[in-house]
């Protein structure tokens, strides 16, 4: 079935299908699909992807009534269970959770940071069937943990979430994606940081082999705000992490980090893209991967420095360990600099585990497998030791131990 037929058939179950402006935008998107079918060579969003699975999918969505927001009775800590992409409304003096509205539909595309040809974002816009909006009110400092639950097999979730951190607010956001059913979750997070606000965003991904997670985020930072994102991908199923950040006012920062642990035939595609659109801003993009068996990964990083963005600091780093001759990791760092007073760098190092280090450790009595595991742990030591949340640190350590137990 074509994208158009799929859309028309399921239109009544898709958000905002009565809105004429949105309808008109969606027709344009359908045209993009019809006319650009599908240039894998020149489209980063399509590399190493089983296109058939994601383009010729059978649309299925269930509305669940089980959504809940729990204020854990601990001050400033909220637990949310999002079911099939939905979340109940909630309001107190610190946060407000609502459904997304028509006006939130296309609010991320102003600076064209997300390319028009990102088919997964376009699919999200076309088939949008779930999502919520969370506003952190001015000068509040809170923690939110969101467990993203999918209730059934063969669901296609197209979810859009908006996060707004009002002036002077601070949010620690932990999102867990741990699903075992055979579904597709295509999620777009649009994040807005007002002046002097801060968002520390942790994403823990640990899905089973049949679950496909496509997650895209777009953050925009106003003056003196900081967005930090840390992605821990332990999934055995396909994951796409594409994260875009715009530094739109002075002295704002974006720190996009990720670690992925792959095995078997699994694939992950990753991208980080930071657009510096104001002076005195900083960005950091660091992804590390450990790949075993026949797994494959890609990572594209991109720093774009606008001509007004003087005194920019922008750093990129990509590192990978290949534990098998059959694993592959393709990394492409890019810098586009139009300002003359900047400090920017990029680097990429991918290869097998250091045999000299293995020999050194074994020569002190450590077994080969123990030496390999200690070197894998040391490879990501900096990222793991920087987690200042004890509970998170324990969760990640347990998942790491589970991954290492399969390394032979």
């Amino acid at each position: 079935m074509s994208i158009q037929d799929n859309y028309l058939k399921n239109k009544k179950n898709i958000f905002f299908s009565e809105n004429k402006d949105i309808q008109s935008h969606r027709e344009k998107l359908i045209n993009i699909f019809e006319n650009n079918r599908f240039d894998k060579k020149n489209n980063e969003s399509l590399k190493n992807i089983n296109l058939k699975k994601f383009i010729d999918f059978k649309y299925r969505y269930l509305i669940s009534e089980e959504t809940s927001v729990i204020n854990n009775n601990q001050e400033n800590i909220y637990s949310i269970v999002s079911v099939n992409g939905q979340c109940s409304s909630f309001k107190d003096d610190k946060i407000e959770i609502t459904k997304i509205l028509d006006e939130d539909y296309n609010d991320f595309s102003k600076n064209n940071t997300i390319e028009n040809n990102d088919h997964f974002v376009n699919l999200n816009s076309l088939f949008l069937n779930s999502g919520f909006k969370i506003v952190i009110k001015k000068n509040n400092n809170i923690k939110i943990k969101i467990s993203n639950i999918i209730t059934d097999d063969d669901l296609t979730i197209f979810q859009k979430n908006n996060y707004i951190c009002e002036e002077g607010s601070s949010l620690n956001l932990i999102e867990e994606y741990e699903n075992k059913n055979n579904s597709i979750s295509n999620i777009l997070n649009v994040i807005k940081l007002e002046k002097n606000s801060q968002l520390n965003h942790f994403l823990i991904q640990d899905n089973s082999p049949n679950h496909n997670l496509i997650i895209t985020s777009h953050s925009s930072c106003k003056k003196d705000s900081t967005y930090t994102q840390k992605v821990y991908n332990f999934s055995e199923g396909y994951v796409r992490n594409f994260h875009y950040s715009e530094l739109i006012e002075a002295n704002s920062e974006a720190d996009l980090q990720g670690i992925f642990f792959l095995k078997d035939n699994n694939t992950t595609n990753n991208k980080t893209f930071v657009k510096h659109l104001a002076e005195d801003c900083k960005s950091n993009q660091v992804y590390k991967g450990i790949l075993n068996d026949r797994s494959k990964a890609t990572y594209f990083s991109n720093t774009h420095v606008d001509q007004v963005a003087q005194k920019t600091e922008g750093y990129q780093l990509s590192k990978g360990i290949l534990l098998s001759d059959n694993a592959s990791y393709f990394s492409k760092p890019e810098l586009k600099i139009y300002a003359d007073d900047v400090k920017c760098s990029h680097g990429s190092t991918i290869g097998p585990i250091d045999e000299n280090a293995i020999f050194y450790l074994r020569s002190r009595g450590m077994s080969k497998i123990a030496a390999t595991k200690i070197l894998i742990s040391s490879f990501i030591n900096e990222e793991l030791s920087s987690i200042d949340n004890e509970q998170m640190s324990e969760i990640i350590q347990k998942k790491l131990v589970r991954y290492l137990s399969k390394v032979k």
């Binding site: 020999f359 020569s363 002190r364 009595g365 077994s367 200690i374 070197l375 030591n381």
Partner: protein, 246 residues
């Protein structure tokens, strides 16, 4: 015989490096091997420690009644062999203390000895480090990471004194050391020397042998030992170089 190397020939990437080398070391003996660059000294050290890049063409090595080739790298270490590396590898993110603790316990396990607990190990490490003039802060760092050349060598000797090997191979431990560091390192070695352990010291220069007195000195040229004797050979080399042995 503690270590018996018989007719050992080794090649790497189709290049013959060791050519019928023979060497016997008894318990309690200190042997020094001297030789010019490229004579195969470090290859011998690496082959003894079990580095897998080399192809053994001929010969055998017995270590403490074991056929050495039946033991993998870690089993050799656990049996009491220790190589102090010429170029110790930097391993960022692997902290010195837990690494050494794990190393000593893997040896104890093989010897059916009780594992050493955290507290006892910390005390042992602190005291050995102090003997070698190693700052306690250094023990909080990653293995060899950011160490100066002298610190790396000192740290090799610290590991040696913790693991207390039966046979220690020192591969050009003197290279890159200033005179003060050389004294500290050689003092560490001398303290460790007993009638039950042996040392194989690989060096270019006699200087090291002024501080660690060898029982035997061997001259290695072009992959085999061409002359053996006492410390007078070292003096001879210091005076005339290796030319006359080639």
């Amino acid at each position: 015989m503690f270590l018996e190397i018989k007719d050992l020939s080794v090649k790497i990437e189709n290049k013959n490096i060791l050519k019928g080398l023979n060497l016997n070391i008894n318990k309690g003996e200190v042997h020094a091997i001297m030789g010019p660059n490229g004579s195969g000294k470090s290859t011998l050290a690496n082959v003894l420690a079990g580095k897998e890049d080399y192809e053994i063409i001929n010969g055998r090595i017995n270590f403490k009644e074991n056929d050495l080739f039946d033991l993998n790298i870690e089993e050799r270490a656990q049996e009491g062999m220790f190589l102090a590396f010429q170029y110790p590898v930097e391993i960022p993110g692997v902290n010195i203390t837990p690494f050494l603790h794990s190393a000593i316990n893997s040896k104890r396990k093989r010897m059916n000895e009780e594992e050493i607990d955290n507290l006892s190990f910390a005390k042992l490490l602190k005291s050995k480090a102090s003997d070698l003039g190693i700052n306690i802060d250094m023990l909080k760092r990653s293995v060899n990471t950011g160490f100066s050349g002298g610190e790396k060598k000192r740290y090799e000797i610290l590991q040696m004194s913790i693991l207390n090997p039966d046979l220690a191979i020192l591969d050009e431990t003197d290279s890159g050391l200033d005179i003060d560091a050389l004294k500290i390192v050689t003092d560490g070695v001398n303290k460790l020397k007993t009638k039950d352990n042996s040392f194989l010291i690989i060096t270019h220069y006699q200087k090291l042998l002024d501080y660690i007195k060898p029982d035997y000195v061997h001259v290695m040229v072009n992959g085999s030992i061409v002359k053996s004797g006492g410390s007078e050979i070292a003096a001879e080399i210091e005076k005339d170089g290796f030319q006359k042995f080639q």
